[in-house]
Structure formats: C-alpha cells, structure tokens
Symmetry: C2
Subunit: 171 residues, 2 copies
Amino acid sequence: MDFDVSLHVIGVVHSTHSSLATTPIQSSLNRAEHASIEIDDQYADGLAGLAGFDYAWMLTWLHAPGEPPAPAPLRHVPFLLQRQQRRMGLFAARGPRRINPIGLSLIQLLDVTSPVVRFAGVDVLDGTAVIDLKPYVTRFDRPPGEPRSGWFDQIELTDGLTPADLAPPQP
Amino acid sequence: MDFDVSLHVIGVVHSTHSSLATTPIQSSLNRAEHASIEIDDQYADGLAGLAGFDYAWMLTWLHAPGEPPAPAPLRHVPFLLQRQQRRMGLFAARGPRRINPIGLSLIQLLDVTSPVVRFAGVDVLDGTAVIDLKPYVTRFDRPPGEPRSGWFDQIELTDGLTPADLAPPQP
C-alpha cells in the first residue's frame, strides 16, 4: 500500500561531498569530518535545548525532490559485501537505496547556533534535505550489552570507507 | 520547502495499543511487551539476514494515511516535562507530533520468520505503518563514552511510562 504525503524540508546539509561514490558510507566511519545543517528559518525555534545533547539522529530524504527513488533489489549484495559477493535482504542492510529513501545519520553536535547546526560525522551529500532531527538519548537509543550485529560482525570496517573503495573483485 | 512523495507501507504493526494516551512513550521503557510487524508480501524478501541481528530501527509513519499531520508547536512542553512545565524545541524532544511525523523505535528482534517480525519493546499503536527497517549496528549506532542527553539527564524515566501518567500539575 502506498500513500501520498507532503514532506517538509526542515533544513539542508552543507558538506564537501558531491558524489555518492566518494561519500563515506556512515557518519560513525567519518567522525573527523565536519559539516553543517542550515535549518529553515520557519523551523529554527525548534532547536531550543538541542545544544544540551552531544549527539542527534539526522533523518534525511536521500533523493532530490522530484527524482523517483530507485530502491536496491530486495536481496542484493551490499557495498560492504562486494568483495565476498554475499547477498542480503534490504532490511538487513544499511545502504541508501531503500524502499522509502530515508537516511538515518548519528551526528555529533559541535555547535547549535540557530539556525545553523555544526556537526561531526558526515555521510551525506551536499544539499541533502533534512526531514527530522531527534536528540540522541542514551536511555532510549542504547540497547543493553553487546548486541549481535549480524553480518556486520564478520567484516572489517575502516574509517572513511566509501563505495569507491569497495569495487567488486576483478574477474 | 515542501515536496510531495509517495511512501510505501512495507508492513503494519500488530500491538495491543489503540490509544496514544496509554501507549508507552519509548520502546526502551517497555521492553517486556511483545508485538509484531507483518511485512507486506511484496517486500518480505528484504528480511533475509535480519535474524542475525538482536536489534533494529523501526521507522514508522505516525499518522494514518490521509490524516493531516498536526505537529506540536516549535517550542512546547514535552510530555516528560509536564510536571515541570519546561518548554523545549521540537528538535530537542522525542514526541510523536513532529514536522514530518516519522517515528524511530529501537526494537529487540525476537523472531524473524518471513513475513512476520516478532519484537520486544513496544511504543506504537496497533495498525501503525512501518516505512523502513534498518538493522542496529553497534559500530554505527553507539556513540563512544557517555554522551550528554540534555534535559533527559535531569528527569526520572520509569518503565511503562505513558502520556496518561504525565498529567500536568493540578492548579
């Protein structure tokens, strides 16, 4: 079932990345890089109190407005498994080509000076539309213990990893 | 800026809750309760590999299709601060009445038997539309150390808390 909604762009990311192939795949793998969100003036009052948090969830719309989303096949080889050529379900992977292209980035808040949010941990293109910001609350967002992370527990994750680093093996 | 998109309902939650006022406010505060997601048959193949994870992020659309979202004021008193009557920015709070009503629930995966996902940690109404599932990956989703969680660090959070428990103080 599908339904039509109007999404509101609450802000826009300013980052140095203009190509997906060379954009780090997760903010946690690119903690050293800084970027900013420029919140739309009409929503800037919503930032009150955010400076008291060290981290936030940035929800993004991963396609330009109007561009039709192109989800990956339901079973596909994630970027991170291209060397192994293992297929996974879309809902067991974190790639950007989703059924609904909503990105979830854990950003480290550096400075909140309305209407600009400076952050560390960059995994999105310049110009990406931000559709929500939620403060990271340890009590809500950290599961107890050391949860199993499926196939991610079996691969090496290096800082700064991009899709271009992960070409499939040559025949 | 707004833009129109068509969202795809990848599944529907079956829970015991039919009233927001008596639905726990966060899955982490209601870990003992179980519920399930029935994934739409056309997307069920996307679950492959998910059983290897202990937790997942469930993204939901918090309003029934067609119903116009009613965001909270940009500065408002969150449920959890009703006793103190402190106002916070919408983006420094975790309430469901957002500019774009997208919910983020950290669910504990109990069983993935396609097309049904059984989980623990329930903070959504019966019938809620699921728009994405992303596996919880500790390396991506757990910030280092003990991050500051703003005003949440100053309040008591008890298991099973619902909006109905948090009536404003009587005059």
